[in-house]
């Protein structure tokens, strides 16, 4: 067995594109997919924008038996898993079922489903609550449903760390590959903030209140004032490189080369946040020096303090403006646990094309000493990419993605 864990299949669904081709065609040119919420009437709420997936028809893609028991984010994940399997060129039976597992991330589970059941409970009575409520809401639902639909009986896992969880899941999947599993599905999906207003009830001021889709989510911009939530995510198939090559895998997109994860000091201590350490641990894990990194996919929180922390960490590791930084999630909004897996997909596609997708809408504030790729995509040879994700509460994760050839 080789030491390298590689990405061999991709299933992606974001507000600006479904499937590898659709997603990349939109992302590479900076197609904005943020708009006014349509899932419900957002008028009563201070924050009214979202990145919504508009062209996803679950009824066309999933068996009707699954629909009554699944939340939207699970449907998205199940379809993405189908796509990833296909993209990996794996047929049922190709890999023994005990050698295939699934590790996903979640932020809020199937909350729309759960909220509907809460409504039934309190407005109609406990006997109106669905038999599916016992799992359709909970955080483990996607790992369970994916393993059942695809006959995977190997290791399972579910991590919940808000945005960073998407990378933590991929790292856990790599662990399972290193321990001998042949194939692990990993990634994350969320459709958290689209839920009938409850997700809009965040009174902590992190959601942008702008009504202009082009001037709402503006990380590293002087006008940064919160983020726009979005729905979607990505699932990838991970395999040991040698196993993948032996089976003649049609796609070997790239390698998950390094991972680091840290937690910030308790607020109020005045000490340095943990992001820099997470980056350093990930680089050391990958055996990569800072100057070998070709692009950083930024967490891009979109609030001045968090943007400052991220810019500082980047400068500390790479030097002021020492590496191209991009935040294509400005096109879709923040996808919670789905965001970082989508970045990993963007990273391998950037490696494949030699093109860094742009940060849209943002005009870089002179405050930040970073080389932010804005406006237009930037052609550049990319062999090593660093993906960052930070979560509410102080979680920092970093993954190094490297060309597989």
């Amino acid at each position: 067995m080789s030491a390298r864990t590689v990405i061999t299949g991709i299933g992606v669904a974001t507000p600006n594109g479904l499937g590898v081709d659709g997603f990349w065609a939109a992302t590479r040119v900076g197609k904005n997919a943020i708009g006014r919420v349509t899932h419900f009437d957002p008028t009563p709420y201070p924050s009214q924008l979202a990145g919504e997936i508009s062209d996803f028809v679950a009824e066309d893609l999933l068996p009707s038996r699954l629909l009554p028991q699944t939340d939207r984010m699970t449907r998205l994940a199940l379809v993405a898993a189908d796509c990833a399997f296909k993209d990996a060129g794996i047929q049922p039976g190709d890999i023994p079922e005990f050698d295939m597992g699934v590790v996903t991330a979640s932020t809020a589970g199937g909350f729309e489903f759960g909220q509907n059941e809460l409504k039934k409970l309190w407005s109609q009575g406990s006997e109106y609550v669905s038999a599916y409520q016992s799992f359709a809401w909970f955080y483990a639902v996607n790992s369970g449903q994916i393993s059942i639909r695809n006959g995977m009986r190997g290791p399972s896992g579910v991590v919940v760390s808000d945005h960073a969880g998407g990378l933590d899941a991929i790292a856990q999947a790599r662990r399972q590959i290193r321990k001998g599993s042949k194939l692990i599905f990993s990634g994350g999906f969320d459709a958290t903030d689209l839920h009938l207003g409850l997700g809009r009830s965040d009174r902590r001021g992190r959601l942008s209140t702008s009504s202009d889709p082009d001037r709402a989510y503006l990380p590293f911009d002087a006008a940064a004032d919160g983020y726009v939530p979005g729905e979607g995510g990505a699932l990838i198939t991970l395999e040991d490189e040698q196993t993948a090559r032996e089976r003649g895998a049609q796609n070997i997109y790239g390698e998950i080369a390094g991972y680091g994860s840290t937690f910030d000091p308790k607020p109020g201590t005045g000490r340095e946040p943990g992001l820099r350490r997470a980056i350093e641990v990930a680089l050391a894990d990958a055996g990569v020096e800072a100057d070998q990194v070709d692009v950083v996919f930024a967490d891009a929180a979109g609030t001045p303090q968090l943007d400052r922390e991220e810019a500082d960490a980047s400068s500390a590791v790479f030097g002021p403006s020492g590496v191209p930084v991009t935040a294509p999630k400005t096109m879709t909004g923040r996808l919670y646990s789905g965001a970082a897996p989508v970045y990993v997909v963007s990273a391998v596609l950037a490696i494949r094309e030699g093109l860094i997708p742009p940060t849209t809408n943002v005009e870089l504030s002179p405050e930040y000493a970073i080389d932010l790729v804005t406006g237009q995509p930037r052609p550049a040879p990319v062999r090593t990419a660093l993906v960052l994700a930070r979560s509410y509460g102080g979680f920092n994760s970093a993954v190094v993605v490297r060309a597989a050839d």
Partner: protein, 544 residues
Amino acid sequence: MHSTLIVARMDLESSAEVGKLFAEFDRSEMPHRMGTRRRQLFAYKGLYFHLQDFDADNGGELIEDAKTDPRFMQISQDLKPFIGAYDRRPGVPRPMRWPPASTTGRLPHEPAARRHEGRRPLMGRRVVITGVGVLAPGGIGAKNFWSLLSEGRTATRAITFFDPSSFRSRVAAEIDFDPQLHGLSPQEIRRMDRAAQFGVVTAREALADSGLDLAGFDPHRTGVTIGSAVGATTGLDDEYRVVSDDGRLDLVDHAYAPQHLYNYFVPSSISAEVAWAVGAEGPATVVSTGCTSGIDSVGHAAELIREGTADVMITGATDAPISPITMACFDAIKATTPRNDDPEHASRPFDGTRNGFVLGEGSAVFVLEELDSARKRGAHIYAEIAGYASRCNAFHMTGLRPDGREMAEAIKVALGEARMNPESVDYINAHGSGTKQNDRHETAAFKLSLGEHAYRTPVSSIKSMVGHSLGAIGSIEIAASVLAMENQVVPPTANLHTPDPECDLDYVPLTAREQRTDAVLTVGSGFGGFQSAMVLARPERSAA
């Protein structure tokens, strides 16, 4: 002699008032003699103690700053009957179970040396449990928890948290928990869901029990992994009622949302709270694999130490699911027992008359350390996490294959990782939820994985006593397993009077049993189709 430390020996039953005093003290402005890097607070059995230098030659009086602070003096007087001290000078015998401060040559207040944080050798690192904290129904603190189990008492009762009259199942295993008594501040109580509060309290207990807070640890090399199946469901249920006006509003009224609603939305806030409480700054996450979360969380943490990502992990699980929405969803699938007329005997794993599980709540958190460094500092070692595995059943979100194949597979892989034969297993701490489907599935899995040895091995389910606290129970069962090892006693399966003929193993009915428990297998099974197994063993026993 200024290098002696205060340790506490307290009986929870007798010291509620003392706990309040300490909680007050925690919020006071004591001078920090030990630097600001780490809190001086430590906890044991849910009570809080400050760490100060202690003058053993002077009859145990507190010295220097503490002496001059009237508040601390008052507290120390009140506490005198409860506080003991031990002497760290060479040749002085140490009290049992109380590890001394660091033997790595550095005092508690000295910062740890910065170490290389990056790739470390993957082989050879072994992981042990050095601290235990438990909050279980009828068993607040590890000591009371073990009393409950070893005496075979049950903590299931008619639901008191809300009016359950419209529900099919109206029993649960509730904890009488007062967060203030456990030292949580009003702000902590406001921002944390009950599950998070449990997690913080048990984390503090575990850390104090490990003695690691006295020894000092490197926050960057210390991580947190907490398991939870349903996170802050109870908090969300409560808040939803308000913002939707009991479901009258389709679009909720955000003006009624509390400041900390987002904490409830994202269960990772639980790990954040625990990390803050203990001062951990390494990898942190929440593991949420339904009812196997409590095993998977600890298994995940052990892997992080083994691979070199962390040296210490604060890990365990918490759930506080006893709320109308949870009861309603289990009512809908008839998974919980309708035995409402006899709540104390409602949870009957492996009994022929069982008809569903009893929902519970609680938390258990552990301190995990790398074996060599735990030995070096003279830590009390409860058990080695010798092997762990989880498997998907790829079958059904709530159903189990009767053949128990995936659980058997998880058990075999965990035993393999522990390099142990099935014959080494002295005791099986079962999932034993008390549904017919589970009990038979599990029995089949034990036979499939252990062969004939399954018939010779005592198997018991503590859910008969503390109910099924979803994601938390796996960790609570790990706590039960290590306490069984500690006491060389197998806890019983309560309420087991009429065995199910299809469950034909030794389920240790009603009474605890003294016997060798040097290696314990604990298993879990949960919605989503997950099966997990963990092997706990005395380190000397499982040495390869």
